[in-house]
Amino acid sequence: MDANTSVVQSSRKFGKSSRSKNIQKAHKHRRNGLIGWAFITPFLIFFVIAIIMPIIYALYLSVFTDKLIGGRVFTGLSNYVAILTNGLFWDGLWRVIRVFLIQVPIMLGLALLAALAIDSARLVGRSAFRILLFLPYAVPGVVAVLIWEFLYGNQFGLTANINTLFGLSLQPLSKNMILWSIGNIMTWSFTGYNMLILYSGLKTIPTELYEAARLDGASEWQVAWHIKVPAIKGQLLISFMFSIIGTFQLFSEPQLLQTPAPNAISSSYTPNLWAYNLSLNGSQYNLAAALAIIMGLITGVLAFVTQNHGSKNID
């Protein structure tokens, strides 16, 4: 490094011929290249260990099958076929799709309204609301589930109080309701987070843009719907993409709720929970790998399509 520096400096001292200039340039370029690589190499090493190698190894495992007799045999796509022809996979996928179709619009709708509210001068206590609504995002997923699990309990817990008070018999942990109880925990955890993403977009809209509309007599709702919402399409898209990823990769909530609701949540309740349970059993590593890759592909393709489609619309 130091040798290169002195070369560059000395070539600067002697002559200004184009040849020495070129040499100087080439040296500087090579030196810069080496330093650049030196700065990114530590990151790249761990990047390969933590991201590239697991993907390659899972791809490898997914096309083999470990047999009791005969050991590891190449079986092509048969693990993928085994997953895709298993009803448990489609049941799990359908569950996350239902959450995606119902919970995500509710959550993003609330987040959008809340973002518009804290962006509006008509709301009292805007910064307090901003903090209060974002607070659940800081709560670890495990703790969020623990709290709601207690609230959902119909022996004691708030559900029991509500049931006695109104003469209801709500059972949030029952087979019929558990998916929506999970959706509620997700809404609770992430509404404020999405609100802040959307709000960060609203803050950047130049006020002249809607002052003019206001002078023309547009109502606040019209300004919000026709000016503000279109202006934060990019942020809406990001929230939407995070939500796709969150729902299709759903794991912690159903895994933790298995304890209080063992009959309502099977070991393949969501695709990720199934992959986890398969990977606990050494003889099913190959299936677990295939399942993880299928779900990674589905999520990735959905996120990619959303982003492509969305950014086209923005242009």
Binding site: D2, H29, N32, L34, I35, G36, W37, A38, F39, P42, F46, A50, I51, P54, I55, A58, A114, A117, I118, S120, R122, V124, G125, F129, I131, L132, L133, F134, L135, P136, V139, G141, V142, V143, L146, E149, F156, Y193, L196, I197, S219, E220, G234, L237, S239, I245, Q249, F251, S252, Q255, L256, T259, N272, Y276, S279, Y285, A289, A292, F304, S311
Partner: protein
Amino acid sequence: MSRKNTKNAATVAVSTGSGVRKNGYSRRHSPVLFIFMLVLALYSIIPLLWLVLNATKSQGDILSTFGLGFGHKLNIVENLKATFTYEDGSFLRWLGNTVMYVVIGAGGATLLAALAGYGMAMFDFAGKQIVMAIIIGAIAIPGNALVVPTFLLFAKLGLTNTPLAVILPSLISPFGFYLVISYVQSGVPREVVESARVDGAGEVRIFFQIVLPLLMPCIVTVLLFAIVSTWNNYFLPLIMLNDPKWYPLTVGLAEWNAQATGSATPKPIYNLVIMGALVTVIPIIIIFLMLQRYWESGLSAGSVKQ
């Protein structure tokens, strides 16, 4: 909402005591918005309020008294003591593990992202475009999708059930890498670095003494997101670790909870689960409140990344 409605509504806002004095000024405040946000705020806060209240109760009171009220006696000190001493102090051990994972994992992730982001933004080198495309592509890979493949690989390498199994995957933050690049491009003038070079400063010194201080707001944001995701991490340590002595708080708490609600296990310990949950949440909430503006800058940066 029409102007007329707003005027009527304003009188309501005044009478509900929203802190507005002048009539002319109050016209601008909407009670509809306020009530909507109040409901959302209650929804956000009540579960946390429940946690705080119930951490002060004995196990008997948790089961028998109203969830959003106090118990018959304040049991907070006893609960704290019991949480930290149960099973020879496993909870303290898990707290220590979580701190270790956060310091090494999140600290390391931030340092690696800062070095790499600076190298990427400030230097030109062969292969840069390809490296950039691969890493940015990795931002789109959901963390949960990588957990099972990483477990399968680490099981093969014999890394499972060691702290490394939790630390190694935490060391990479593609989001942090991206944030540092955009910050260097806008916040670190090339001339400053060039003139330091002319003065004879080495590259390492330039990075730590000149660039890093300029990057501080960005570093805090990256660190904050890394701390929270490592502190809250559950899926990864759950699948990687068998031995309770390496558990982080999240996995330990989940196990206590399984014991509390399961049937075939020792006696339930609701009060310890709830107090443990509160102790797990408090540091994160404090960090979060103290560094609020960094959250917001991180979220807005994340949302312009496309």
